[in-house]
């Protein structure tokens, strides 16, 4: 009977449990601050330092050979177009494969053995280090000179990036299609639609916003990748002038950053910062765009 009378029910800050509680809350707040700090530091350095080297010349000119001229290092134009071209090549390969695979998993075989294996396989593929994708493409395309006898090429770079995009796209397509209510499928079958019509006219449009989010995120990740490119596309300081150039070395922003950051010359380092600025701005906008699409999709679902 004594426990009712002796303990006060009002909050007592000097109790051990309350002190411990406060301390742990403060610790977790500190951890959160420490986790956010690198982002703020990296972004502000890249935006301020990189942004100050951005001008029309930097955006358009070809980079000069390292160490030639400290006053004018040229620009990053070819690297910007190279990154764009290789991202497009990677998307052309990985979007059909990823969306098709996702459709198979969600619409045709939801829990079959093969589907289980493909889900497991795309998880494993997503976990494989990006540099292994480069090593793989090097072994089957670059060193065998299978593409018209040329070794390092923009196409090989694009293919190696597509390997990194496929698992993300498959997973998001699969998840997005699974969220489409089964009633919509039954309604489509009920009015006599074939499975192909049902998928292309009902479920794919309903899942479109989530799928495009996944594609954008995959693209953003691939466009910033360096490791698979350093021995598939290598690097080139020149603009491509014809389709033929796709079969030769191609520059990219990320490889430019890697190469020029390690140069001992100030002018090259500045180009690396400028390239980082462009890359970070583009990738962050892609990420924010994908978030925005998600909110759009949520809105349209409410309307349905």
């Amino acid at each position: 009977m004594n426990y009712t009378s002796q303990k006060s029910l009002t909050y007592n800050p000097s109790l051990t449990r309350n002190i411990g509680n406060k301390a742990l809350t403060i610790a977790s707040a500190l951890f959160a601050i420490i986790s956010v700090l690198p982002l703020i530091l990296v972004i502000s350095y890249v935006l301020i330092k990189g942004g100050s080297y951005i001008n029309l010349d930097t955006l358009i000119l070809e980079p000069e050979p390292p160490g030639d001229d400290l006053l004018s290092a040229g620009g990053i134009g070819p690297a910007i177009t190279g990154t764009f071209i290789m991202s497009v090549i990677a998307s052309i390969i990985s979007i059909p494969v990823g969306v098709g695979g996702g459709i198979y998993l969600a619409e045709y075989s939801k829990s079959g053995k093969f589907a289980k294996f493909i889900r497991f396989g795309s998880n494993v593929l997503a976990g494989i280090p990006s540099i292994i994708a480069g090593v793989f493409i090097y072994a089957i395309i670059v060193s065998t000179k299978i593409l018209f006898g040329s070794m390092f090429s923009g196409i090989a770079g694009g293919i190696s990036l597509s390997i990194l995009m496929i698992p993300t796209i498959i997973k998001t397509t699969d998840e997005a299609l699974k969220l489409v209510p089964n009633d919509m499928r039954r309604a489509a079958f009920g009015v006599g639609a074939s499975k192909f019509t049902m998928i292309t006219n009902i479920t794919l449009p309903a899942a479109f916003s989530s799928i495009s989010t996944g594609v954008l995120l995959a693209l953003a990740r691939a466009a910033g990748e360096t490791a698979p490119l350093i021995f598939t596309a290598l690097f080139s300081r020149y603009y491509i002038t014809s389709l033929d150039d796709l079969f030769y070395e191609m520059g990219s922003l990320s490889v430019l950053i890697y190469n020029f950051a390690l140069e001992p010359y100030e002018a090259q380092n500045q180009l690396a910062w400028a390239a980082s600025f462009i890359l970070v701005v583009v990738l962050l906008s892609l990420n924010i765009l994908s978030r925005w699409i998600v909110t759009l999709g949520a809105f349209s679902k409410n309307k349905v």
Binding site: N18, I103, I132, F136, K195, A261, N269
Partner: protein, 317 residues
């Protein structure tokens, strides 16, 4: 009446073209799905095939020798394997409390919702910054900034072999720190998701019997979310082992084995990034052997992660 119905609503027969489209579409998506399996198997097959020469020549000796001499054709990957395991596990040990702590901070009702959202989005945006940009930042900003602190540690504790070399720029310690930055978003966002999925009834029940916030977190919420958190941690471990660019730029790329965390070192992926371009002959085969080891390591970690998520989640459903 019967006649009217059949004339108005006759049963539609599927035209052959529609059947063809249906079957064709199914075959196409099956083919697309199979691509995953084909790519996965061919990655393993190709890397294994290319490394057979080195495997037959060195066997398991490759794992324990730190020789790397293209002139005498003597190769061993011990330094790189040790570097890979050490940097990734050390960075994991730093990142787990930071990441899980942040996740708790933004899932429990400690701060108002909009600040929570801002922190959550910022941590996820950190994942969007390419590794090579983080490497650039690490080389020019972070490493010069932390060097004086590392020097103080060296002067005070230099007699311990772990701190036994003077920090002179690139080395294992800055690489560990940049890895922490890279794997933090993974641990945070996966822990956040699994903490959010803990039913609020559990929380209310704990508060109802008078548990304090952190007792609830440690005794109820974390045990309920442990499968997701462990999965996220293992995923982060896999990512840390395979992380290439930032590490290559900051670790110093030296194959000389040293116990000191201030000395330049190697990881398997930085070795590949650094040497693959200009390698030829049996060096390529040895690099492929190292790539195979890296693949097996990350594969084991990933499969273990999936297995643990399945096993532990059953316990709490």
């Amino acid at each position: 009446m019967d006649k009217a119905r059949t004339s108005k609503f006759s049963l539609r027969t599927r035209p052959t073209s529609e059947k063809l489209v249906d079957v064709g579409f199914k075959n196409i998506v099956v083919a697309m799905a199979s691509m995953v399996a084909i790519v996965l198997f061919s990655i393993f097959a190709v890397v294994y095939y290319e490394s057979t020469e080195s495997i037959s020549r060195y066997g398991l000796r490759f794992l324990f020798s730190s020789a790397w001499n293209p002139v005498t054709d003597e190769y061993g990957a011990f330094t790189a394997i040790y570097g890979t395991l050490f940097t990734s596990i050390a960075s994991l040990l730093i990142a787990i409390p930071l990441g899980v702590g942040t996740a708790i901070f933004i899932t429990e009702n400690i701060i108002p919702g909009y600040i929570r959202n801002v922190i959550g989005i910022m941590v996820e945006l950190l994942a969007a910054i390419p590794s090579v940009v983080l490497g650039l930042w690490a080389v020019f900003i972070m490493e010069p900034f932390i060097r004086p602190f590392l020097n103080i540690i060296y002067e005070l504790f230099g007699f311990i072999p772990f701190f036994g070399t003077q920090p002179l720029g690139a080395g294992m310690m800055p690489a560990i720190l940049i890895l922490v930055v890279m794997i933090l978003p993974i641990i945070t966002s996966i822990s956040k998701d699994s903490l959010n999925q803990v039913p609020s009834k559990l929380r209310q029940a704990a508060y109802g019997i008078g548990a304090s916030r952190w007792t609830t977190i440690f005794k109820v919420i974390i045990p309920a979310a442990i499968s997701g958190i462990t999965g996220g941690v293992l995923l982060a471990l896999g990512r840390a082992m395979g992380e290439t660019m930032a590490v290559t730029m900051i670790i110093g790329n030296s194959n000389n084995f040293s116990w000191s965390i201030f000395a330049p070192s190697y990881t398997i992926s930085s070795m590949l990034a650094n040497q693959f371009g200009e390698a030829d002959g049996s060096q390529v085969s040895s690099l492929m052997y190292a790539a195979l080891i890296l693949m097996i390591l990350t594969l084991l970690v990933n499969v273990f992660a999936q297995w643990i998520v399945k096993r532990l989640s059953l316990k709490y459903q």
